[in-house]
Amino acid sequence: MKSYKFLNSSPEIMDEITAIVKYFPMWSLLGWYDIKQKYRRSLIGPFWITISSGIMIGTIGLMFSKIFKSPVGEFLPYFAMGQIVWLLISQQLNDACTTFIQYQSVIKQISVPLSVHVFRKLWHNLILFLHNFLIVIIVLIFGGIGFTAELLYLIPAVILIVTLLFLLSVILGIVCTRFRDITQIVSVFLQLIYFFTPIFWMKKTLSSKYSWVTDFNPFFHMIELVRSPLLGVAPAAYHWIYILICITGAAVIAFFFMKRFQNRVPYWL
């Protein structure tokens, strides 16, 4: 709530980035309170997320390893790591569509850059991801993978994925506030993507004729970037390149949308 000047000007890119730093106390507290609110009066709180993902991963992992006739020791860790990354991606993109609509009471009362609201939601989902990460640690210990030096690749991988998710969320948030139908389209699309992405099936089982299904699928590259270090393998170079290209593309669109429509969003709510 600073001084400002409206000369029909649109926000600058740098303002958006500094806003995230400047409003850190706001999005971090509110994102955390969103979780606290959801699990108020529950004994173990957000650890229900861990339990429900754990049960799902355990049962489906065992079942599919039998169906696909692959050894449990290989399939279960593969599925567990991929599934947990997927949960973050799909949850965040689904939530992104309704972020501004959900926080409209705030947006319509005080002037805060939109990226702060996006980050509040992203932070919320990252906290849930950290709860799920407990499963990853259990799998690392008992799955026979152990803690390898490759785990260090996780740091850049997670930073890249969070960046990409943030940019995509800005785009989806703006578009879905204007056109409410897109929210439904996104959720159907994400359900489909789940089946077309090697999460509960392995890329090597796909005949090379159909390898385009994964090659051009950004979600495959996103998941692979986080999954391989968890399985003790350094991610291949082309995953990094692909994700960097995606980030560049998403950044151009996100900043264009931000510049063009940031001021319009309160009117659409």
Binding site: M1, K5, F6, M26, L30, Q109, I110, R180, D181, Y267
Partner: protein, 237 residues
């Protein structure tokens, strides 16, 4: 130097029915080369129509006008929520937007937690909140209830807490939608004193109200709006 200056300020809302907001309509519109554009473009409501004004330090502005005259839209524009569609608007100074006292507060949380939630939305640092915590709790007269979830509060208690928080941190510009009277007669008097004190510390107050009595008591200038225009602008003593 605190001031608010509007020049040819214009704000119109697009009104989306369920029809024009749909993606289908936009696609069809693109595909049909704009033949049905008159339907799909939707309706615009001109809430603020080309107004110019200047509020300077020390002024207590009362915004009057019947429902839909554009008072609330103007307040939101001053709060920085609605960007001008035309003309320009300059606001210099720290703003306290009291359009909704209990913004961001949640009934599942304790009074204590709600103080932090409300304050973070006002852009107040945690250290500041701790410093004024006792004052907020004391004025709200909640006592031990501050540790209870807000759902256990009566509506008067919640409002008292929200009011205490909002009037603790002084600002240069105060925006208010309707004067507020809360609680029983005793508390109401106490609250009025605090609110007047809070306003005294600010340099500009913009208060939208339907109550001419209240406006006369507090304001030094009355701006009358009608259909998005300023129709009258008078200084009063």
């Amino acid at each position: 130097m605190t001031y608010i200056k509007g020049e040819n300020l214009t704000i119109h809302y697009p009104i989306f029915g369920s029809s024009s907001r749909s993606f289908k309509k936009t696609i069809i519109r693109a595909a049909t080369g704009g033949r049905i554009a008159s339907d799909a473009r939707g309706i615009n409501i001109c809430a603020i129509d080309n107004i110019s004004f200047s509020f300077t330090e020390g002024e207590r502005i009362g915004l009057v006008g019947h429902n839909g005259a554009g008072k609330s839209t103007l307040l939101r524009a001053l709060a920085g929520v609605y960007a001008p569609m035309g003309g320009k608007l300059e606001v210099k100074g720290k703003i306290a937007s009291l359009l909704d006292f209990s913004l961001g507060m949640d009934s599942e949380f304790t009074g204590y937690e709600n103080i932090f939630m409300r304050c973070v939305l006002m852009g107040i640092a945690k250290s500041e909140v701790y410093k004024h915590m006792d004052d907020i709790i004391e004025f709200s007269e909640l006592g031990e209830y501050i540790k209870m979830p807000m759902r256990t509060y009566s509506s008067g208690m919640s409002l008292r807490l929200a009011f205490s928080i909002c009037t603790t941190f002084p600002s240069d510009i105060i925006l208010m939608d309707e004067w507020l009277s809360i609680g029983d007669a005793d508390f109401s008097k106490k609250a009025e004193v605090r609110l007047l004190e809070f306003i005294k510390k600010s340099s500009i107050l913009v208060l939208a109200s339907h109550d001419p009595e209240q406006i006369r008591k507090i304001c030094s200038r009355v701006v009358t709006m009608d259909h998005g225009h300023i129709v009258d602008d008078n200084k009063i003593n």
